[in-house]
């Protein structure tokens, strides 16, 4: 039965609204809401319909971030292949934590700049760099697991690893959001002319 009052997760709706150009925000959000209410929620139930909605929001919000994620991943893989990572001479880091380096900073600035330039909103740039920060951290976790295959299994015996990981994540996320905000401030001031 169609429920015209059913609502998808609020956070995902906010993310969608932030990621889109004002030109597209209303129609795109309306399309996903219509599909959610008319088809997905009645046929899948609340939980699976919410998952469907969140995945599609991420596909919309994450699309502008992928070029940066692929670029950053490719550069890091290339450097790792030549055993340069994590040497710091060319890629200085302010703190001894992962994903807080000059290379990361450049990509976060770029993601923030391009997002804000696209929509004219600083928030879009911050969301872009935040998503890039999460992807970057996931890449680091994968890289660390390749180096130490028992890393995740040993969390049970040594829960302190989780604490250290959480601190690293918090540092990396703060770095990504801060740099993204700087890039976004510049990008918003040079926003593309948007169609009405």
């Amino acid at each position: 039965m169609i429920d015209e009052q059913a609502n998808p997760p609020r956070l995902a709706q906010m993310l969608l609204h932030t990621a889109l150009r004002p030109h597209d925000a209303e129609s795109t959000a309306g399309d996903l809401l219509e599909e959610y209410r008319a088809v997905r929620r009645p046929s899948l139930g609340r939980l699976r319909a919410d998952v469907w909605y969140v995945l599609h929001v991420l596909s919309v919000a994450g699309r502008p971030v992928w070029p940066f994620a692929l670029g950053l991943g490719a550069v890091k893989l290339g450097l790792a292949a030549f055993m340069l990572l994590p040497l710091s001479g060319w890629n200085p880091s302010l703190v001894p934590a992962p994903n807080v380096s000059l290379l990361d900073a450049l990509f976060f600035l770029g993601a923030g700049y391009s997002g804000a330039r696209r929509t004219g909103r600083v928030a879009t740039g911050v969301v872009n760099s935040g998503l890039l920060g999460l992807i970057d951290f996931a890449m680091f976790a994968a890289y660390a697991t390749l180096g130490v295959p028992t890393l995740f299994a040993s969390i049970v015996e040594k829960p302190f690893i989780l604490v250290i990981g959480s601190i690293f994540l918090a540092i990396a996320a703060s770095f990504a959001l801060t740099l993204g905000a700087v890039g976004a401030a510049v990008g918003a001031s040079r926003a593309e002319k948007l169609p009405s």
Binding site: T28, A29, D31, V60, A61
Partner: protein, 109 residues
């Protein structure tokens, strides 16, 4: 000669042609999924629509929304003459590629 369009761009543009005056985001997403027989992300379709508009292959206009959309407007898309020409050329190139071959191809062991 019109600009070359990719496979997914063709799928979206053909969906616009098939849907005619009903071609708005959600309908296009469902039509593309139906024709390609796989789940397609909304992000891929919206990015392609944006690219098709930027290339001049499609135009869009806003129309009032309905209650089930929370009153949010619908954006309807139509292919332009340039878009239709590009589709015709893509089809012609594909047909030319296959001309003279018996379908389906036989597997040589």
């Amino acid at each position: 000669m019109a600009e070359v369009i990719g496979h997914f761009e063709q799928a979206v543009l053909v969906a616009l042609v098939r849907l005619g005056s009903d071609a708005y985001g959600r309908a296009i997403l469902n039509e593309v999924q139906k024709r390609l027989e796989r789940e397609v992300s909304a992000g891929a379709v919206y990015a392609t629509l944006e690219r098709l508009e930027a290339k001049g292959f499609a135009l869009s206009r806003l129309a009032p929304g309905t209650a089930i959309r929370g009153g949010r407007a619908r954006r309807y898309f139509v292919p332009t003459a340039t878009g239709i020409r590009a589709l015709n050329e893509a089809k012609s190139a594909s047909d030319s590629l296959w001309r003279g071959l018996a379908w389906p191809l036989k597997v040589r062991t």
